[in-house]
Symmetry: C2
């Protein structure tokens, strides 16, 4: 499907380029290992203030990358905006536009007239930051399954080390949705003196067991694909596309709500009112949609990165990691102001999870605001409901610290 | 895990044997093809009245079989009661007990002191009734992908032909849950003069798009497994166990509710409070549970039967098939009394679907009763909430026609 070339609308950050930076020191990981070298892919939007006090770090979700805003300079111009399948649904994202382009730019939620916005590809990623597809210096081959198991805290430590190199000590805010929201919360816990404000959208302090289960299914689907080859598929000409496609389909359904699927597809058949009696072909529109989403995803994403990132977000559990099982204890040291946004129809990262965070912070006397937005699109809302999030975030950020 | 040998409790129908019957005529299918020969596996419980007017046909769900009640005479004694993963959850089912043993027997919901209960394995099945693993007389080899695509109506036509051979003209009732409920409703539409009462539990008149999507994912997972071999895996020593296991995991989660998973597993780790940092191993209890369910399922079920049965329940759409898009028109000829039971936490076959059937029947002036049971276990409730369904069903069946 050819699309018209994207044009830069008012409020765009313009043409941007993903850059790379090598960390000078190894990153110490939760699992006990050290990782070195670590390269970080990043983009920046806006200008750093002389006092370096206007930095907002945005953190992406499972399948995102550093290209959060603007039009990519890369000639491939591949969209990253369909990180949650939203690309074909809101009509806003075009080829080459960043995954949060609607939120980052002059006058937008993260206002580049005022803030210096930084976006990095997360540790373990496959879009420029060191991950399982990177070369292991010990062997000269891609890490594959030898890549260390990482956590959300490890992602945040990597971002911390990256900002150190840039000479940025404090963050005016750290923000993200989904797994990005987990990173934002982890920042507030790990580096309490260095974050002024947290914006955690469609996030949670710990994925519920059904979410753990969906992630386990997606990972098992990859690992049961013979083409995965124990994770050493690089250079073999085969990759576990079939299995990762299934995992992606599962993900898609969990990112949407049942009513959203009803509204978008109903039980409509593909180009016919008559059943064609086929087992192998996609007959319902929703079946065809899922296959299309799976096929386009596997072309741009690395299966091992999916495994490691999914594992990290499954492990994420603020109470267990930082509070001996108590969320209150885990959040006790937080000094940042916190904005939580949740969506009424999000059953993967439900409002109840954000409410638990809010109550814990409130009980500790911490400044916290929770906004539950009534919207029908499920978890995907965090990429779709930009217009309604924008005034909430702008107002929150503008408040005097 | 060894279990004590099952004992026959009071109310049991005793030791039973699955028998087989060959239909004398071909079955004409919705797809236009005729299927012959067709063998039907069945069990009966109770005694046929001299007037043959006390017959209840029970219809099983996706992964069930003819062994609905009592203790199987088959030496393998393999449980069929975990058709919806309920086996290990309610403690009632043991090795060799039928999948609806709690509902069929003397004094039970389907009271064998009064009724002659018949259970058949559905058309396309893999437990004795003709299906894709049966021998195609045209080739002398298993049908595999040459088996015709079947519908719920085809399943019901096969049951009708089977009952003809037994000399049974009328049904006092037809009953089933999930796909079994679809069959029960289809009976009332296809053979309105021959069914006195319908009991459709956790059923629907048409699966919603999210349910269509889950089924598509399960089927694609099987078909993407290279061991599926285009459906011709019989006799090759390989079967798409990996893919069907993933499909079964997806199914399991959809049969349960998020709160049920929370109550059963929480975020508990396997035998440890510490994360072990592993991608490949199951760390959370819910992960281990899913793998176990997948492994036990693939040992007893045929992947092609899964494909065909899943396709049939996806196609099922009373309004489209029988009403030109109108549910009212589809149900216009129904003469049976209808009992609908739904469960509050069932998000796969939600109460709203049963409500739509109830409203359509009521508007047509048909006798209908809907009971929505508040229960937390999701779709699985239909196999778990036997104690609460029993008085509802007994009262409904006892009512004068």
């Amino acid at each position: 499907m050819s699309q018209p070339a994207p044009t830069l609308a008012a409020g765009s950050v313009g043409v941007v380029e993903t850059r790379h930076l090598d960390l000078p020191e190894p990153v110490r990981l939760d699992c006990g290992r050290e990782l070195h070298p670590v390269r970080v892919a990043y983009e920046t939007y806006g200008a750093l203030s002389p006092r370096r006090d206007n930095v907002i770090l945005v953190c992406h979700a499972l399948s995102g990358d550093a290209h959060a805003a603007g039009l990519s300079k890369a000639p491939s111009g591949e969209s990253t905006r369909d990180g949650f399948g939203a690309a074909d649904r809101d009509g806003a994202g075009g080829k080459g536009l960043g995954w949060w382009d609607g939120m980052i730019g002059p006058g937008k939620a993260f206002d580049t007239d005022r803030y210096f916005v930084i976006s990095t590809n997360l540790l373990g990623g496959c879009r420029g930051t060191t991950g399982p597809s990177s070369i292991d210096p010990a062997t000269g081959l891609p890490y594959g399954p030898d890549f260390p198991v990482i956590t959300v805290a490890d992602m945040v430590r990597t971002q911390r080390a990256f900002l150190d190199v840039l000479g940025i000590e404090r963050l005016a805010a750290v923000a993200g949705g989904s797994l990005g929201g987990m990173q934002a919360l982890e920042w507030a816990v790990l580096y309490p003196g260095q974050v002024d404000a947290v914006v955690a959208i469609a996030g949670t302090h710990a994925l519920h067991p059904q979410g753990v289960a969906w992630n386990a299914i997606a990972r098992d689907s990859i690992m049961r694909d013979p083409a995965w080859q124990g994770g050493r598929y690089y250079g073999t000409g085969r990759a576990p596309d079939a299995g990762m496609g299934i995992g992606r389909m599962v993900g898609h359904i969990t990112y949407l709500s049942a009513p959203a699927l009803e509204a978008k597809f109903g039980r409509r058949l593909q180009g016919s009112d008559e059943i064609r009696y086929t087992i192998t072909e996609a007959e319902f529109e929703v079946e065809s949609y899922l296959r299309h989403q799976a096929d386009s995803f596997v072309r741009r994403f690395d299966a091992n990165t999916y495994l490691y990132t999914s594992r990290a977000l499954t492990y994420f559990d603020l109470a267990r990691q930082h509070g001996g099982g108590s969320l209150a204890r885990a959040l006790d040291g937080v000094s940042a102001r916190t904005l939580l946004i949740a969506f009424s129809s999000d059953w993967l990262y439900p409002p109840s999870a954000s409410q638990e965070i809010e109550q814990a912070l409130r009980a500790l006397g911490k400044p916290v605001e929770l906004q539950v937005i009534e919207a029908p699109y499920g978890h995907d809302c965090f990429l779709l409901e930009e217009a309604r999030q924008t005034p909430i975030i702008r107002r929150f950020l503008a408040r005097p610290v």
